[in-house]
Symmetry: C2
Subunit: 223 residues, 2 copies
């Protein structure tokens, strides 16, 4: 009975960590969407709000970290649970840094909104959608222990990398053709890099999930 | 007696993690130095070797991760030791990503070495020296539990950010003045960003050290 109670409370604690991580993931997705919206719709006020919102992500990072440490100290979990908690600790760091990237996008958006538009944004929102989906799927894969989904995320990263390269090439032709576009093109290029890094963070999470599920480290074996 | 033996073995295990982390840090410093040397001295062969060397960093990441998990599972550490191990888990991730940044620098160096030099590199090597010192000091602060040194690292980050901005401004004037330099300037700019990110990783580590020592999370309170 004592043991059953212990196990029930422990399960609840793990569930709370799971839920908090998903909550953090959901907020990060909102940040990705809003930072891009502030760029595409030239909405600098939304950019400001997005930058301020990063505070909530940071707060969740600290909260989840503390919860993980508490569970490790009080429950002394083993095997699979231990791996779950230590990966949760690493994953919050990735999520928090995705928030930082969104802040970077919103800051550049504010600057770009003060100048004439360089060109309509087509590939950047596509890239953002992919990156956001990768973040969501990587977290889903984590909480469900779904390595098939995690492998999909790792593969999707290549498409985002290709989009980033395509955008960079296009911006280069702009800059070559008209030097007055250089300053703006560099900012758009920065945003593209931010999105690529968001996708990289999602990939990192997915690789760690595969490790958790398979107990095998593929982080540095997949090309 | 039994207890004393346990505590001695446990201490040795923590020491091994400490040493392995310093070893990984030392190798990362070599990667920073060599990636920059391959650029400044136009040594593409060294760039190749630097890219290949990343394998060793990745290997150490996996090894330290495994050691941390083993200690958590078998020793069930509490309080300060627990915090040490969970931060070690996070820190290896930062170190591994510094290795990735060095790989990025070496790849760009190889490309730049195939074209005429854009300009002598003065600020970039300075930035690399600072970033490398920050990595070293952040790790020293970690293994010694020295929050004063960690605070210094956080402050130094500002100087690296300023150098990065200065380099970006300078490259912009190059590109504006002569569009034929744009493609090379973008690559130099990329390298500058890589160094800035290395310094960011060192800062992340330092912030976590302050958290470990003070038991207080300053990650999102220092401006």
């Amino acid at each position: 009975m004592e043991r059953e109670h212990f196990s029930k409370v422990f399960d609840e604690e793990l569930n709370t960590i799971r839920e908090k991580l998903l909550e953090m993931g959901g907020k990060v997705e909102v940040m990705i969407a809003n930072s891009m919206k502030s760029l595409v719709e030239r909405d600098s006020e939304l950019a400001e709000r997005t930058i301020a919102f990063d505070h909530e992500i940071n707060h969740l990072e600290m909260e989840i970290d503390e919860r993980c440490l508490e569970v490790l100290a009080r429950r002394q979990p083993a095997a699979r649970d231990l791996r779950f908690i230590t990966l949760a600790l690493k994953i919050v760091t990735d999520l928090e840094r995705i928030g930082d990237q969104c802040t970077g996008i919103a800051k550049r958006a504010k600057e770009l909104n003060m100048e004439p538009p360089l060109k309509p944004y087509i590939d950047l929102p596509r890239m953002a959608d992919w990156a956001s989906m990768m973040v969501k799927e990587a977290l889903d894969a984590f909480v469900r222990g779904d390595d098939t989904l995690a492998i999909k995320v790792c593969k999707d990263d290549q498409f985002v990398d290709e989009l980033n390269e395509q955008i960079q090439r296009e911006l280069l032709t702009f800059m070559m053709g008209d030097p007055s576009t250089i300053s703006r093109a560099i900012k758009v290029n920065y945003i593209s890099k931010c999105l690529e890094r968001i996708a990289d963070h999602a990939t990192n999470v997915a690789e760690m999930v595969i490790f958790m599920v398979k107990g095998k480290d593929i982080r540095h074996t997949i090309a």
